[in-house]
Symmetry: C2
Subunit: 226 residues, 2 copies
C-alpha cells in the first residue's frame, strides 16, 4: 500500500471496485415520441455531465445538449439546476445504498462483519462514482429539504446508526454517540481520501488486498476501543 500523493483531488481511481452497481437510473423503455421520458434521460445525461466536468463545472445547458433537447427543456421537469441536482443526489443515495447492499449480500450474520461490509460499500461508492459522491456528501447545491432526498438520506443515516447499535448490542454494550461518530468518520475519511485519489490501494490493485486493508482500518475504530 502506498499512502501518497497528498494533493490533487481529481486523480482517477486505479481500478473499479468489485461488485458495486454502476448502472444509471434504469434503461427505461424510452416509450413514446413527443420525447420519451425525458426526465429519466436528463438524469442519465446529468450524471454523464457530472462525471465529465465535476460539480464545479456542471452545466445545465450541457446536460440539455447531452440529452439532445433545448436548453430550457430541463426546467419543466426539475424547475432549475438545483432541482435536477437534488433529484440526481437522491439517485446517488440509491446507488450508495445498493453498493452497501452488494457488500452485505456476501457478508455473514455477524453484526461486526456486516458493519464492515457497509463501510466497504461506502468506499466502493466513492471509488465507482467520485463525482456523485461529491455531489451527495460535499455539495451545497442539492436541496435536502426536498422530500425524496430527505427521505433517502435519512434512510442512509438510519442504516449507519442501526449498524453501530447492532454491533454494540452483539457485544453486550450500548452504542454511544462516540461510536457512531467514530464509525462514520473513519469510513467517510477513507472514502473521501480514496475516492479523491489522494490515498491509493496497497500492492497493485488486488481488490482483496485493498478490502482487507480498509477493513482492518475500520475495524480498529469500531466500538470496542480495546
Amino acid at each position: 500500500m502506498t499512502v501518497n500523493d497528498h494533493a490533487p483531488p481529481t486523480a482517477a481511481p486505479t481500478s473499479a471496485p468489485t461488485s458495486c452497481p454502476t448502472s444509471a437510473p434504469a434503461p427505461r423503455p424510452k416509450a413514446a415520441y413527443h420525447h420519451g421520458d425525458l426526465r429519466a434521460a436528463l438524469l442519465v445525461a446529468a450524471e454523464a455531465e457530472l462525471d465529465a466536468r465535476g460539480i464545479e463545472e456542471f452545466s445545465l445547458r450541457g446536460v440539455a445538449r447531452r440529452a439532445g433537447v433545448s436548453h430550457a427543456a430541463p426546467a419543466h421537469h426539475f424547475g432549475d439546476a438545483g432541482g435536477l441536482l437534488t433529484a440526481l443526489a437522491a439517485e446517488g443515495f440509491r446507488r450508495f445504498l445498493s453498493c452497501q447492499d452488494a457488500r452485505q449480500a456476501t457478508a455473514g450474520p455477524s453484526p461486526r462483519v456486516r458493519m464492515l461490509a457497509d463501510g466497504l460499500g461506502y468506499i466502493d461508492f466513492a471509488r465507482a462514482h467520485p463525482a456523485l459522491f461529491r455531489l451527495v456528501f460535499a455539495s451545497a447545491r442539492p436541496d435536502y429539504g426536498d422530500a425524496e432526498l430527505g427521505a433517502i438520506s435519512g434512510a442512509a443515516y438510519a442504516r449507519l446508526e442501526a449498524g453501530v447499535q447492532a454491533v454494540a448490542r452483539a457485544e453486550g454494550r450500548v452504542a454511544t454517540p462516540a461510536d457512531v461518530a467514530a464509525t462514520w468518520a473513519i469510513v467517510h475519511g477513507l472514502a473521501e481520501l480514496t475516492g479523491g485519489g489522494r490515498l491509493f490501494a496497497p500492492g497493485g490493485d488486488a481488490p482483496a488486498d485493498r478490502d482487507a486493508f480498509m477493513a482492518a482500518i475500520i475495524d480498529r475504530c469500531l466500538p470496542p476501543p480495546c
Copy 2:
C-alpha cells in the same frame, strides 16, 4: 454529544474553536495609490467571497467588486480565476498549519499527544474556515502543480507522516502505511463531518468537552490497535 443531522452540508458551526488563528493574509500597509498592493487585497476579498458564497458560487467579478476594482483587475495578478483560487488555497494551507501550531504550542512532548494536537488543529481549521477547508481538500479548481501550493501542501502531508512515525517510534514500532491512512482518515473524516455541520459537538458547546470527545476518537484509531 449529538451525532445528528445527516444531511445538509452547509449548516454553520455552533461556536468558534479555541485559538485557531482567524486573520486574513496579513493587514499589510496598503501602501501607495496606483492601487496599494492589490494582490493582498484581492486575496482578502477572495476569502470573503468564498465564505459568503461557497466554492460553488464563487465569482471572480464578485471578488473584484469586493476589492473595489474593475472586473479584469485580478487577471493581471493571478492570470485567471484558477490562479486566484490556487493562491488562496496556498494561504489556506498556511492557515491550516498555524491551526496545528496553535494546538502544538500547548501540547507536551509526548509524540502521541502532539499527534492528537495536530488532529485537533485539523478539526479547528475545518470549523473556523469551512469554505477554505473545502477549497483546500475538496475542490478541483486550485492547481496543485503550482510551485507554491505544491510545496505547502507537501509540507502539510510531510507533517502528518512525520507525526505518525514519531508515535510509532516512541512506542517501539515502525509506522505502516495503514497507520498513516488510519490517522489521516479519522482526522479528515471528523473534520469533514464537523466542518460541514453534519456532526455536532457534545453537550452544549464547551470546547473542552468537544476536544476530549474528538481526541478520544482519534486516539482509538492511532497506531497501537490494542
